[in-house]
Symmetry: C2
Subunit: 489 residues, 2 copies
């Protein structure tokens, strides 16, 4: 690799992939670890994950879910009980063969997902329809041995939540699948400010062991899609493999209906790629660990003291108003250095206080991204605000910025969504990226051909696509609806 | 094992160890998993852990610590860099030898603790004294291959937090060690209602790789001690092994001073054993996931509706007051059944509402343990309370109960703390359990002899023991202070 200026962020147009890595490393969200494919989530990245967890966990609990914790180790034989499941996961497993100084009788797999170990317990716990629905979620680390890794997006170990629910009927299970998909979509759109398509995966793309996989799909700035969350209808596949049965109200034994669903630290990658720019990270205010940073501007020691005092008081007022604020009172670096650093780290609003501001009892709010125009290269918007009004104005600024980021991402997606009816036209357009809405006969062969020839996959059969008769853009066969194709992370 | 009534809880006097297991299983805090030595933390136990995490995490953050996440896998060679560390942990390691279908070039250890992987990163991140102190904590799962396991107290996999800090001077590092030990002690006493001794471990008992280990020690109802948290002064042992250095303000390179500290899901075991009784779990109100349960009492459908309506309104009022309340409106089981179940599950206060209560606009509060007398076998205390006053009275009840549990545990500890000067007297008293304050010459041989002959160990050299000249109760050598001996979990 060519030698680069360690301090500079590669521009997106020069090398999108390098730009992404620069942001993650320079904003100190994560770092490479000495273990191949495993990352270290640094405090800046972890604080973001904690905010994501808090929001999601609140939504799960509000819909009746409870958290639990199951072992990280799974006996190899458990994984083999569901045929598709083991086929899907076995190439990616990390295996403990020795422990306590001895070779184990049965190797233990480090969980790649917890269906098998959880359902072995469910089988023991569930006896009657009165025990249903069982609505359990787990926050945990999982391991999938990946060949090609990328910070947050695809790492050998990652953090996630996995919900695993049990129901008496398929209708109830399907309701749960959609309830969770709605939560994921709401979280992506309202918290991450990332618009998503909701839909169903094709059979080729569904979860190993699922009857149906639903998903949310987002579009990144380089025109590639990113699957941001999945919610699976497992049918009775696992309940039959693990004997998860219940006595119904007629005292007859029935196999249960199950769902599983998850989102992971991959969401951080999606957040970065959806909003950030060549200056650095851009964080949606609702998830930003630091929502505003106060930078005092002074020339001498006397003014430093006076200004820092006012700044500290301002911070107090903002924190009382429920905002998360940092006062950067370092005297070893210049204000300009601080501006750049906090821009790089994606803090949504910078608050400047200089000698004149102190005289006037005011400060200056500068959003990370101009909230009205939101066009890059434009002069940033500034607002002069009285110190007393600062909490109210800052809140309004953060709300505006949250909305502006969503709208910008939505506009980007709209501009990069195309209807295509001709496969050759698709092939020449796919390099430009985006979502391609095209008719598909439903055949696995056409799907495989497109993947082989263009690297694009069916991201989903969107729920709100509507019926529309047409012809498969590959084979010309009958089609009832358009599906969404894209290259994906 | 003899066949037992699955529904009955063994009494403490019959079999303390079986009693403990009955509580954990019957109160649905945890369960055995199919993987030897690994437990499943069920929703009831996990909610308790979440409350513990929230309280501790708040205290860590209030003292400037931030969270991060490091890989679960550690290259085997890393562990070997600090000689004592590898010696202490190697018998307990679980090792991944195969991944992604291939044998690994270097086996990966599943972290038993994260000093080595974290400090390899610290070495990369820290350059200047301006980067210090570095105050990082991690919430994670760890694995130590134990031969004899017991739910929560000793499991192959457990959940914990591990803090790892870096300082420019030894003084600062030692301050940090004590700051954290204070947080642990405050958490144990103010949240768990478990009194603890703070002190230093003997060399034989200290952490593998530490210069000094400090700890908090609690006394369980069977007279055995339980180490509830440790805070280690690592000196420069690891900074030299992992090259954690910084440039001081004279631009000279110095090895850093480090600390590490942790508490784990073992605390749940301590909480159970400190307070629970033959009826089941007793939870301190400040950590109880459900602080009060409302049980409506009715005879017919008409009164059921009227009472449940009042009960639901009451719950709303209590929740508005910031209390965590469950309304048990199941109509498949009797009130008596519910009473027993919630007692077993340790809910601090039961609220009964019957037809007469509805008429009078009142309800009855019944604490899990009588708050004044707190003697077992006594008739439980009841309070008739107007519905409007319920939030205030319930809060007062919970506070009283919190204090009462602490006082009861403290009285128990006082009653089971003994000064001994004669080794033979100690040997005949040790079966009765408790803390034994005895003089010790400081010699490893005397310590080893006591352990071999009595299974008792030095729990700590307590900080507030004071100087007192005496003679070692084993060898008669000079001693400057008493240390605390006990059999321990």
């Amino acid at each position: 690799m060519a030698k680069r200026d360690e301090k500079a962020i590669t521009s997106r147009s020069d090398d999108y992939s390098q730009w992404y890595q620069d942001i993650v490393l320079r904003a100190e969200l994560a770092d490479y670890s000495p273990v191949k494919g495993c990352m270290v989530i640094r405090p800046g990245g972890y604080a973001l994950w904690e905010n994501m967890q808090k929001a999601l966990d609140g939504m799960f609990k509000a819909t009746g879910h409870v958290n639990a914790y199951f072992p990280i180790f799974i006996p190899e034989s458990f994984l083999k009980k569901e045929a598709q499941h083991v086929e899907g996961f076995s190439p990616e497993l990390a295996v403990v063969t020795h422990a306590g100084g001895k070779e184990l009788e049965e190797p233990l797999v480090v969980r790649p997902t917890s269906e098998t170990i959880m359902y072995a317990m469910y089988s023991k716990w569930i006896k009657s329809y009165r025990d249903l629905p069982l609505l359990i979620n787990q926050w945990a680390n999982v391991v999938r041995w990946e060949m090609r890794t990328r910070l947050f997006l695809r790492t050998t170990e990652f953090l996630w939540q996995e919900g695993h629910t049990v129901h008496a009927t398929h209708d109830e299970a399907w309701e749960e699948v959609l309830r969770i998909l709605d939560i994921y979509a709401r979280f992506a759109e309202e918290w991450m400010a990332v618009p998503v398509l909701k839909g169903v995966k094709s059979d080729a793309e569904k979860f190993a062991g699922a009857k149906t996989t639903t998903c949310i799909e987002a579009l990144m700035q380089d025109g590639k899609a990113l699957q941001a969350g999945t919610s699976h209808d497992l049918g009775q596949n696992f309940s039959k493999a693990f004997d998860v049965r219940f006595q119904d109200d007629k005292a007859e034994w029935q196999y249960a209906w199950q769902t599983s669903w998850g989102v992971s630290t991959r969401l951080i990658g999606a957040l970065i790629m959806a909003h950030s720019d060549d200056q650095g990270l851009v964080m949606p205010p609702r998830l930003a660990p630091i929502q505003a940073v106060i930078v005092p501007i002074y020339r001498d020691e006397a003014s430093r003291q006076a200004i820092t005092e006012v700044a500290a008081k301002l911070r107090g007022g903002l924190e009382e108003a429920g905002l998360s604020v940092r006062l950067d009172d370092r005297d070893t670096v210049s204000p300009g250095f601080k501006f750049n650093e906090w821009e790089l780290k994606g803090v949504p609003v910078r608050i400047e206080i200089g000698p004149k501001d102190v005289e006037k009892g005011s400060c200056v709010l500068v959003p990370r991204v101009p909230t009205r125009a939101l066009k890059e290269g434009e002069r940033r918007q500034k607002e002069f605000v009285g110190l007393d009004e600062a909490p109210g104005v800052l809140k309004a600024f953060l709300d505006e910025l949250q909305t502006a980021l969503y709208n910008r991402a939505l506009a980007f997606r709209e501009a990069h969504s195309h209807q295509v009816d001709d496969y050759e036209a698709f092939k020449s357009a796919i390099d430009g990226g985006g979502f391609f809405w095209a008719h598909w006969c439903g055949g696995a062969e056409c799907e495989a051909r497109v993947k082989e020839e263009t690297k694009a996959t069916i991201r989903c059969l969107p729920f709100d696509a509507g019926q529309e008769a047409g012809r498969c853009f590959v084979c010309g066969g009958d089609s009832e609806r358009r599906v969404v194709w894209a290259r994906a992370y």
